[in-house]
């Protein structure tokens, strides 16, 4: 190390720093893509290595690597499709998962219906639900609520106006709630829970 807390910007320094971040990077990649998470991480590592000299503090390595990974993913999405995927996802304005649970009452003997509903999902179920969402909604949702990026940072990363990101987060949350309910029904999660 050349200074306290700062590794030399060498290949060895890079290796030492990124190996500890591999699980977090791979997990983020799996929330962003259905297939090809490993390739996405490799491409991000390659770009990070080239830009290693720009990393100011070792302590910021995790966020720095995630940012590079999101940039790589954003560019891949853009290359794949020149147009933003704004497929109609049905009318979401009236959907409320909170009310749906109250109305449908999937666990009649539960004292904590809403909490119990969320507990039927394991991490793979949640990933399945996220992957169903179009990229434009999934990416801000994952970055904001799972990886802790601020909305302004997300707007900068995705090169979109803040208002656009806020609108996509809003629609993405509604869509996510609707898909959670649909997935729970399709995958039989509510029946299993009821039979306990």
């Amino acid at each position: 190390m050349s200074e306290a807390g700062i590794r030399d910007r060498t290949k060895e320094g890079f290796q030492e720093l990124v190996l500890a971040e591999l699980p977090a990077l791979y997990s983020l990649a799996r929330r962003l893509v259905r297939d090809g998470a490993e390739d996405l991480v490799q491409e991000a590592l390659l770009q990070a290595f080239r830009a290693f000299g720009t990393l100011r503090e070792d302590g910021a390595a995790g966020r720095w690597l995630k940012t590079i990974l999101v940039n790589v993913f954003r560019d891949q999405v853009r290359k794949r499709s020149r147009t933003v995927d704004e497929r109609p996802m049905g009318d979401l304005s009236d959907f409320s998962l909170y009310r749906t649970l109250v109305d449908e009452d999937p666990f009649p003997y539960s004292d904590s219906l809403h909490t119990d509903f969320l507990q039927v999902f394991d991490s793979e179920d949640l990933r399945e639900v996220l992957i169903r969402l179009p990229d434009i909604y999934r990416i801000p949702l994952v970055l904001r609520y799972m990886d802790g990026f601020a909305t302004k940072e997300i707007a900068r990363l995705l090169e979109a106006p803040l208002g656009t990101i806020l609108a996509r987060l809003h629609r993405g949350r509604r869509l996510f709630e609707r898909e959670l309910w649909a997935y729970a029904e399709e995958a039989g999660l509510l029946t299993k829970e009821r039979a306990r």
């Binding site: 290949k11 890079f14 290796q15 990124v18 190996l19 591999l22 699980p23 977090a24 791979y26 997990s27 490993e38 991480v41 490799q42 590592l45 390659l46 290595f49 409320s96 998962l97 909170y98 109250v102 809403h114 909490t115 969320l118 999902f121 991490s123 949640l126 949702l141 609520y145 799972m146 990886d147 802790g148 909305t151 806020l166 987060l169 809003h170 949350r173 709630e177």
Partner: protein
């Protein structure tokens, strides 16, 4: 003087996550708060929104299959 005219449930629910994020102007924040002070159903929505956020924040299992980890480590070594 701020306009704290009552808002309907649909409007309050629409703004709940942004309210929790403090991502709406203070006057809107105040309107949501005022609505929550008398609407039990929207308080339920608020609690569920909090639970949902916690659910997302804690569902970030950092698992990597050993064979993938090994391949990525080899990739880093070869850079």
């Amino acid at each position: 003087m701020t306009d704290t005219k009552a808002i309907p449930c649909s409007e309050a629910v629409r703004q709940l996550w942004d309210y929790l994020d403090h991502a709406i102007p203070p006057e809107d924040q105040e309107k949501v708060e005022k609505h929550l002070s008398f609407c039990r159903s929207c308080c339920g929505e608020l609690e569920f929104a909090k639970e949902m956020r916690a659910f997302l924040a804690t569902s970030t299992a950092q698992e990597i299959p050993p064979h993938v980890k090994e391949r990525l480590e080899r990739f880093v070594e070869r850079l």
